[in-house]
Symmetry: C2
Subunit: 233 residues, 2 copies
DNA sequence: CGGGGCCTTGACGTGATTCAATAAAGGTGG
DNA sequence: CCACCTTTATTGAATCACGTCAAGGCCCCG
């Protein structure tokens, strides 16, 4: 599909308004902002914005999957985050420099709502009671990145995979069934691993009886055992 | 020394006021905030706050050096950032959860000014024109962390060391002389390397004629050549 | 049936860590 | 000022985890 902009229907409107960032906004201000917003369709692999490009808008993911990627020397790429449906992303860029620090590419055919910064910032200036919400959001991302930093720099492939799987689990219970949020190669990149290594770790876990794998669907019989395995790995 | 709190003199006051975060503050608001602040002395190795500890204050480093560290399984530790004199740190924690996401330890005997969050937040609430400054600061840290993520996950030891040295250089000129901001083991940890590996990379650079090393003092005859070496490394 | 993603598996190479020994520098007290 | 001890830095050799390269299997879709 081409990226044919189109207007926002009320169903979509509701989904966006439910995000923490917008839940405190007045109907009026929010409505005015959305009038400036447009929907865009993205093909698989299509790039929404490039690293270093001037940032004019942020996005809400309606359908599909967006990968936030930073590029390194020699074409290697690391997925900083895999954006899921109903997430806002790139809203934090508004406040500095105005350049995207990462690239956004569609990991699946996707639909996003594009929300321009200009009216967003204007509203924020006029309603400064909304700023604490923004600060909290930036702060959350900061924590997320610090956690990522720790995982990348101090944990082995085994530990990273295990932590990641455990993070996907609903609050610690018994045998849980989870499904990977993206194709395995993307998850591997998200974890800073090659697909091969990721596959091998999964294989090891399978042979240790800590994991059942069926395509993108994983079963963890005993999360606690997995945690222990990671710690001693 | 024990951490004997004491009052703030006017010299110190000026140094703090010069930070971007406070430069827009009114004399009155700033003065009132500083009345709640106290100085603390830290011995080498002393811990200012622990990871996960409830956050009640942020800090300004007057003298010495503070390392922000995250701890991993098995006692390994990664230095997220080496704080230098005249820097503020941990101010971003105010807006979420209220727990420190890292540990702060003195890499040298140090002096800090401890600024409690409560009055700081209260002033911010009352003067919302100050918030954009905060947002910009959080945004900067976000960019910093994303850059770190890229370095850690996609660059070799050689590349990381070279980028780091080049970052220390004043804007690209000819032969520059720089000095490491901390002992080599701390810099290594900051780069996600062991001291041994760091030492070896420095040795390699020395033998290639790209670097002269004298204790903590480094000379880079040709920054551009160093950049090329990193890219092809 | 055939082609193309996607994933898995094996053999191999390599860069970084680990372990260990040594050297150099800094601090302390006699 | 020197002897002594501690901390910091360097260097070498052995090891290991992960990446790379290459082959093969599986599944979906035409």
């Amino acid at each position: 599909m081409m990226s044919a902009p189109s207007a926002i229907d009320s169903n979509v409107r509701t989904r966006i308004q439910r995000t923490p960032l917008f839940s405190a906004w007045s109907e009026g201000a929010f409505g005015a902002l959305l009038e400036q917003a447009r929907m865009r369709q993205l093909d698989l692999g299509e790039i929404l914005f490039h690293e270093g490009e001037e940032a004019r808008a942020f996005y809400f993911l309606l359908a599909g999957e967006i990968d936030l990627i930073t590029l390194g020397a020699g074409g290697r790429e690391k997925i900083v985050e895999i954006i899921q449906v109903d997430d806002l992303f790139a809203e934090a860029v508004a406040f500095l420099g105005g350049r995207y620090p990462v690239q956004a590419a569609a990991g699946l055919a996707s639909t996003v709502v594009e929300i321009p910064f200009a009216p967003f910032m204007a509203t924020l200036q006029g309603h400064q009671e909304l700023m604490p919400q923004m600060l909290a959001r930036l702060s959350m991302r900061l924590h997320y990145l610090i956690k990522e930093l720790r995982h990348l720099s101090m944990e082995s492939a085994n530990q990273r995979v295990a932590s990641y799987l455990l993070d996907l689990c609903p609050a610690g219970g018994e045998c849980v069934e989870i499904s990977l949020p993206a194709k395995k190669a993307a998850v591997a990149a998200r974890l800073g691993l090659t697909p091969e290594t990721f596959s091998r770790v999964l294989g090891r876990l399978r042979k240790a009886g800590l994991l059942r794998v069926d395509k993108r669907c994983l079963q963890i019989p005993d999360p606690q055992a997995l945690r222990r395995w990671a710690d001693s790995s």
